[in-house]
């Protein structure tokens, strides 16, 4: 490969042209690289509109909103500071010790839906739909929609068809992560009314390593279609570990002292409308349930 031709310049010529060095680099590519289009900077899911605005244009600077936010955060900080004077987790120790049931989410109005987020395969280009609204008489929440298993036509996705509802991560003051501590309890208690479809309950605990971020502990929720409510009690010992939907070989029980969120997923490949009504979600301590873990923890290929 031949080297690019560089003009021969005398020493005096170099001094004269020292201010303008660009001609020396004539054979070299321009210093400034062409600016990538904004749309090339991240993955754009099919169906999402193109975003050509720079990132700083997307932030709404509003003094009133900022002041309101600061007030909220300082109020939370004050509550956090004084809660330990009452007892662990802001409750007196006797109440904490004698507590056998705790209702975590009770759907009694539009405000109770703000702690939840819904999602379906529409985000990856699918055709399912999901909606969440308050049930009749503000007594429950209704999760409904349409499941469609047709995969998105993007050439790479082979399977599709899921709808999910998940609780948001609880946040302390200044948007610090807070966790649910269910270590005093051993059973999940739900009151639901479904349409006969099987759902999956997913519990996502706090993890340390980045490659554990998709770890979740799952179990099934079989709903019985009909006008009657169902009281479902699932011990936490029944939840098995899955990573990105794949059940792991090495199983262990879920640690309940740092839980980020709980969710319900429908993916039974039965296309059509669905409905799930939830009255409350709580945890309880069943002293008669002494099982640590429902599945074998032995190694499948033990070293001799």
């Amino acid at each position: 490969m031949s080297l690019p031709n560089i003009s021969r310049v005398s020493a005096s010529g170099l001094l004269r042209s020292s201010r303008d060095l660009r001609w020396l680099l004539r054979s070299v590519a321009p210093l400034a690289a062409p600016r990538r289009a904004l749309t090339q900077m991240g993955y754009r899911r099919p169906g999402q509109p193109r975003e050509d605005r720079p990132p700083w244009w997307r932030v709404k600077f509003d003094l009133a909103k900022g002041l309101k936010g600061m007030k909220r955060h300082f109020k939370l900080l004050k509550e956090e500071f004084f809660a330990p004077f009452v007892g662990p987790m802001g409750k007196p120790i006797m109440e904490h010790m004698l507590e056998q049931n705790q209702v975590l989410w009770e759907f009694r109005g539009p405000h109770s839906l703000q702690e939840w987020t819904i999602s379906c395969d529409r985000e990856i280009g699918g055709k399912s739909e999901i909606y969440l609204k308050v049930g009749r008489n503000n007594e429950s929440c209704l999760l409904y929609g349409t499941l469609c298993s047709d995969p998105p036509k993007d050439g790479e996705t082979r399977y599709s068809g899921y709808c999910t509802m998940r609780s948001k991560q609880p946040l302390a003051s200044f948007d610090r992560k807070k966790y649910h501590d269910w270590s005093s309890f051993n059973t999940l208690h739900l009151r639901v009314r479904g349409d006969g479809r099987p759902w999956m309950i997913n519990i996502v605990p706090e993890t340390y390593y980045i490659h554990q971020k998709d770890d979740m502990y799952s179990y099934f929720l079989y709903t019985r279609g009909g006008p009657y409510w169902q009281d479902v009690k699932i011990p936490f010992s029944k939840f098995f570990l899955a990573h990105r939907g794949r059940i792991q070989d090495d199983q262990h029980p879920v640690w309940l002292d740092k839980i980020n969120s709980i969710g319900f997923t429908l993916g039974d490949k039965a296309d059509g409308p669905f409905q799930l009504e939830i009255d409350f979600i709580g945890v309880c301590k069943d002293y008669a349930h002494t099982e640590d873990f429902a599945y074998e923890k032995y190694k499948r290929n033990p070293e001799v």
Binding site: P84, M89, Q100, S183, P205, T207, Y209, H252, W255, D257
Partner: protein, 348 residues
Amino acid sequence: MAPLIYSALIISLGLGTTMTFASTHWYLAWMGIEINTLAIIPLMAQNHIPRAIEATTKYFFVQATASATLLFAGISNAFLTGQWNITYTPYTLTSTLITLALAMKIGLAPLHSWMPEVMQGLNLLTGLILSTWQKLAPLYLIYQIQPNNPNIFIALGLMSIIVGGWGGFNQVQLRKILAYSSIAHLGWMILILSFSPPLALLTIIIYILMTFSLFSSFMLTRTTHINSLSTTWAKIPILTISTPLILLSLGGLPPLTGFMPKWMILQELTKQSLCPLATMAALSSLFSLYFYLRLSYAMTLTMPPNNPAGTLPWRLNPQHNTLPLALTTTSTICLLPMTPAIMSLMPF
């Protein structure tokens, strides 16, 4: 874990501490501490559960940082003084660096943040080794270095007593409570170290006795949460009597053994004309006493809110050897009258 590997790790733990005890050279002392750290890592991670691996990783990072700092300080000391003897640290910079590195190793405030999280991720047996055996080698080195200025020891000690009490205030996880208890007791030990090293030795020995008995009690009843303490009466009734006494001994209440080191330390501090310091230490230990009392209350004076007849656990013969528990519990409860004899044995 395979028995051979388990034995090798336990022997390595013993080897590391013994090597540090037997050394006068900084390199050998550091090597002993490193062997200890590396030997306990597989013991901590033997259960491949995320929380245990997290605890192991955090412990490794902290101990590696402290070891690197210790080695650097030892080499700096050798560079400045021209010799490697552990006991000769005339320069304030190197002795302070060594003290801080060793304080990080044993979890003294303000370098204590790793301790509760690490203890929470371990099982009770590994937690016991971490609270007792792993403290011996660094404490021996602290014992030897004799810094020029005792103020650093006073600051570390007082801060640890306060933080150990304040941190355990609203904990409901027993392992975290025991971590904060360890921080507080080591604070007492460090506080008196520069004035009376034999008293510090007495404190650590009695702390090891009390912690061993408490951990063994919790291992027998398999309790890791304050709520499960209330069902202890149904599992092993005798522990419902002895464990609160162990807890109150840890809190330093007479006439139990735990009062002995605190009493002697306060007496020594008063003799050194450090009455405000003694007062602050005594008042700060009330925080720790509060959560020990809370645990005792949970165990003995509360009943679980259920029908006991339907949910009593099976009372089988314990599989563990209970002789160590019996011996250490007796020592934890009954040794206070022997204080004069113990004091006469101390090399004052």
